[in-house]
Subunit: 227 residues, 2 copies
């Protein structure tokens, strides 16, 4: 499948690498590809975009617009604080009719911990994205766990934990469900329409508290809905 | 232990019944005990306070103030929308120095589903209660699952799911942890201080979405933190 992954942070890199490894034709979108390639300062994971691309020759880097134009499916893996701007930069025409998988969280750490989840009184980030890009088929998933677990759930407890999938378009949701299964997810909970995104986005404060309280890496815990 | 349970709704009744069954000396607080006893209209569980008290001769009914004066430990099992008023009615002097276990959630359903979690920008309900009653030793627990699971966790998956415990006073938290263990809880996660209550209160929107999506009784699912 032709896929765009918007964002070169750890979430974007992890998802893009996993999709590329599964044989998808992936273009990774960034604001300024030349600047991104030229950056020599590693991020907190010790990675630069250039060093990462050397390890992933199957992936291509482009602008947000080039990536979105390429993808039949577009993954929003940017920070929720800038997602609406990034998607505008990708271009509404490049998103129209596409499956737009929103994995982002809009967290405001400016008032300390736990962060405030952005704009909950106006609905979730996913709902805001859908409202801003009505022709996109927005599906929310994967926003409730660490990046490495998103792409490789079986690395914890054999994958015996849950991922939430939701959106207004059943066909788009089913396509994203197939991708989740290909990642190794087997407990995929269809929460319903986009209004249920608010609940998954509001999981982030307790997720961050758990990361502190458990004293383990964030890849070492995850929510399961026991039933 | 001398315990007050404030609230005669399903949460208050379930917790009071469990504590009474474990041999604690429990007074259940309500606004107007005579009016409560006189009510003949059953609630949505088919129960009246009078019929319930007949089944629980070990429990006594009193005003919020009488109950709080009795308890060494006070459980706030009222609706979060009225908890601050109820605790004011119970009397700050009757709460001073006491362990105050807040199991409530402040959910505003006036704008439809999912509800808005009250006043999150001003901190959690637990933090607001602590601020209003600074001499109480507020501990939050049990607000993230169905009432019957609160009191009898082993009824689902042998109790293989998680409860969050948090507060500023380590001794109070340890005492509540003992009560949780006596209820059958074995995965008790100490989340930290009262600021982490926000995260547990923000679990309610997804909990309500899960109740709809899974199509099961609320006693048939629960969160587990896999690690």
């Amino acid at each position: 499948m032709r896929i765009a992954v918007l964002g070169t942070g750890v979430v974007g890199r992890t998802i893009a690498g996993r999709l590329g490894g599964l044989g998808h034709d992936v273009v990774v979108g960034t604001r300024d590809p030349a600047a991104s390639r030229a950056r020599t300062e590693p991020d907190r994971f010790g990675v630069t975009t250039a060093s990462w691309l050397v390890e992933h020759p199957e992936l291509r880097l482009g602008t947000f617009g080039e990536a979105a134009a390429h993808g039949e499916l577009v993954v929003n893996a940017t920070s929720g604080q800038v997602s609406l701007d990034v998607l505008a930069s990708a271009g509404a025409a490049n998103l129209a009719g596409k499956i737009l998988v929103d994995v982002a969280n809009d967290l405001d750490f400016s008032k300390g911990m736990p962060p405030v989840v952005g704009a909950t009184s106006q609905g979730s980030l996913a709902e805001q994205i859908q409202a801003a890009f009505p022709a996109a088929r927005v599906v929310k998933a994967l926003n409730t766990m660490n990046a490495s677990l998103m792409a490789d759930p079986t690395s914890l407890a054999g994958g015996d934990h849950s991922v939430f999938l939701l959106g207004n378009d059943p066909t788009a949701k089913a396509a994203v469900g197939e991708i989740l299964r290909s990642f190794g997810w087997h407990d995929i909970i269809d929460l319903g329409d986009l209004s249920t995104a608010r609940g998954t986005e509001l999981l982030l404060p307790i997720w961050l508290s758990l990361m502190s309280a458990l004293g383990t890496p964030a890849s070492a815990f995850q929510f399961k809905v026991v039933r």
